[in-house]
Amino acid sequence: MTVLHWAIISPFLLAILVPFLYKYGRKIHTGWFVLLLPLALFIYFLTFLPRSSAGEVVLRTVPWVPSLGINFDLYIDGLSLLFALLITGIGTLVILYSVYYLSKTKEKLNNFYVYLLLFMGAMLGVVLSDNIIVLYVFWEITSVSSALLISYWYQREKSIYGAQKSMYITVFGGLSMLGGFSLLYTMTGTFSIREIIANIDLVTTSSLFLPAMILILFGAFTKSAQFPFHIWLPDAMEAPTPVSAYLHSATMVKAGIYLVARFTPVFGGSPEWFWIVSLTGIVTLIWGSVSAVRQKDLKSILAFSTVSQLGMIMSLLGVGSVAYYFYDGDNALYTTAILAAVFHLINHATFKGSLFMTAGIIDHETGTRDIRQLGGLMTIMPITATVSFIGLASMAGLPPFNGFLSKELFFTAMVNVTEYGIFSVETWGFILPVLAWVASIFTFLYCTILFVKTFTGRFQPEKLSVKHVHEAPFGMLVSPAILGLLVVIFGLFPNVLAYTFIEPAMQAILPGIMEPGQQFKVHIYHWHGFNLELWMTIGVIVLGAILFITMKKWSQSRFYRKERDIFNYVYDSGYDGLIKGSQLITRVQMTGRLRDYFVYMCAFIVFLIIYTMIRYDAFSINTANVSPIEPFMWFVVIAFVVSIISVPFINNRMTAVVMTGVAGYLVALMFTIFRAPDLALTQLLVETVSVILFMLVFYHLPELRKEKKKPAFKLVNLIISVAFGVMITLVSLSAFAFGSETNFTSISQYFIENSKVLAGGYNIVNVILVDFRGLDTMLEILVLAIAAIGVVSLIKLRFKGSEDV
């Protein structure tokens, strides 16, 4: 175990300690203890920064299940370090925020911080794991801890609904991802991502390439809330705001992004990957931005904007994967998309985190998050308004904030698509920049709505439940302010990120593109002349502004009023349908009638055996080896068959018992004819005792009635029973023929020869029973004993009136 391993395990260890800290440190808010850990981890991960920006990687191995090739391998390169710093950095700020957000006395802080630490450790594990099975384990822990955090206020029905939904969707994705990982293992024989990338030929030439890719993408798309799996994210907003800020904007939803980026070297370069990832991303982008405009709740708007921004990053990763097609030469054109993706990933984490926190502050101070009730908060909450403005302007893509830069790069990447000349982009490629541009207009629109409806206009204290609305306490403002400051810094000096984060991350996403020793040279400019991208941005602002000014008109439309996503109805009715459907199936097949179950069993046995016999042509009759029928045997057989067949038709219980008795004695007679004296003796005795037993309970038994059944019912019974009898006859004949044809001799010769020699007995059957195979007899005696005890207890033991089973 190295320090790095302990760094990942430490949140889990602290999670164990949290309940004790909560119980015995009541005076201090538990969050203060927890805060120290992500801070320490953040500083620890910063120490890797020099190595990572020099292009070095760190690998630490601890065996876990070495025999299966599952090892707790940790791997730090530019991409994982970027994510680790995001997780710990924003984690620190979120915990600081939550200390002020969650009340020390009213909330169950022990639960909250345990879940949060579980999540943090799992998330670190996801991004640092090199082994895909370990990655999967951590991946599922993030799903579980996320569901726990969403249902933190578990008294509310909506929280439970949201948690359940997110759990179902992400676990569905997680499981299919596991399937994809298994396929990768069958292709390459290793669970290590580095080794898979090293053996890339095995993957690309395999027929399992596409299934593995699609299964893994399911995992990534469900986790990152891509279309149409985005529906869980808006419902996850029932979680406390720090959770929304941390999980559902900055970290967990980016796990899918991380997965796609991590597997770009494996699957990138194929047209399927390019089109699936880019199109899903771009559709998510436009769907999310259009849906966000319809929302009236601050957190819902932010949730849909998260969906849309994740779609943007995803589409950039898809477009950027094309770089694999052009290994050499001028890469700048093709790697722009990856650069934009990484850059926007950082930007989105900063501004979305701060926006969620400000939304939480507004909720905390006014008691509502509904934009129809809010307004005029600019003068009351100036700091919150400033931070919100910075975040929203950045999200809308306005200069000089960092969102502007990544949006310009986004446009560049999307416009470049049309120039690739592969994957049939010349015919369909144009939809990518067009959709991107339209989506940006809606992004601008909802950012404007968010700001204007919340902070400007008339203050309406009568609509609010809180009496004195005022600025949030200082501690609550620290975290959003820091994030807002980062937005400004990254916006003004984007190149501080370029050498430290973006280049190593690009190196990690696109390994093998550059010559060894060479590195990506990234330089982000604010001003690149009057090019197409700038005009696109100006168009976005103008059209967005026009849409906002005419909002009064279109806000009356049905489109605006319908808040819930159409896919929620699909999900809800699918969920109900699943439950109703399975109930229906159960009701139809589980009737509770003995007869029905017996019909199923017999029908299946008959079907399976007859099918097998026909399929393998196993039916044969061999009369060469049969013994002759003695004349008197016909009388015995006819009498026996008559006695058997009469039983179902008898409606008198006495006659029925006698007839079965007759059949039993005839069986004994047959045993005599077949040279089995012991059997005949036993059969005679047993039959006598059985008949006596029948007679004993006879008096208490009901009279047999004529069965009143519908003819169809009777016909089914008749068909099944005759089919079963025919099947038994056929099986018996074929088995006998098979036994005659093969030359296997019976082992009984041994018993005949050794009965006297070894056991000293003349009656071979008895010697077999008590000597050669005595164990059977012992257990048979046990069966009789148990039956006797059962009979006695059935008769003797009774529950008295009030008692119940």
Binding site: G592, R593, R595, F598, N625, S627, P628, I644, I645, P648, A656, T660, A663, G664, V667, M670, F671, F674, R675, A676, L679, T682, Q683, S690, F694, V697, L701, P702, L704, E707, N717, L718, I720, S721, V722, F724, I728, S732, F736, G739, I747, S748, F751, I752, K756, I764, V765, I768, R773, D776, E780, V783, L784, I786, A787, A788, G790, V791, L794, I795
Partner: protein
């Protein structure tokens, strides 16, 4: 002989299955009694019939009938007797408690 016995065994199975599918508990028990006859005869038949004398060494026959299936059937007779006895008593108790022998009326319990 074996072919004839196979047909007879098929008839026994048909009748037993038909009895199993009826509504009355008594008929179901009679069916289980009959089906055990079918199984025992099948076991004996499958080893071949009438291939020599009874498996008693004192009789000094040239060949003996296969003794192993006989031992198996002997065990099976005793076990099926035990089960039949138990079933019979259970049917008796069921009828006493529920006042019906109709399987259609014996479905589920009150707390379901």
């Amino acid at each position: 002989m074996e072919v004839l016995m196979s047909v007879v065994i098929g008839i026994i199975f048909s009748v037993s299955i038909y009895l199993f599918l009826s509504k009355s508990i008594i008929r179901v028990i009679l069916g289980s009694l009959l089906i055990s006859h079918g199984v025992h005869l099948l076991l004996i038949t499958m080893s071949g019939l009438q291939r020599g004398g009874p498996p008693l060494l004192g009789l000094e026959a040239e060949a003996y009938t296969d003794p192993l299936p006989q031992a198996l059937v002997l065990t099976a007779i005793v076990i099926s007797f035990g089960v039949t006895a138990f079933l019979l008593v259970m049917a008796y108790r069921t009828f006493k408690e529920h006042k019906t022998d109709n399987l259609e009326e014996l479905r589920g319990s009150a707390d379901e």
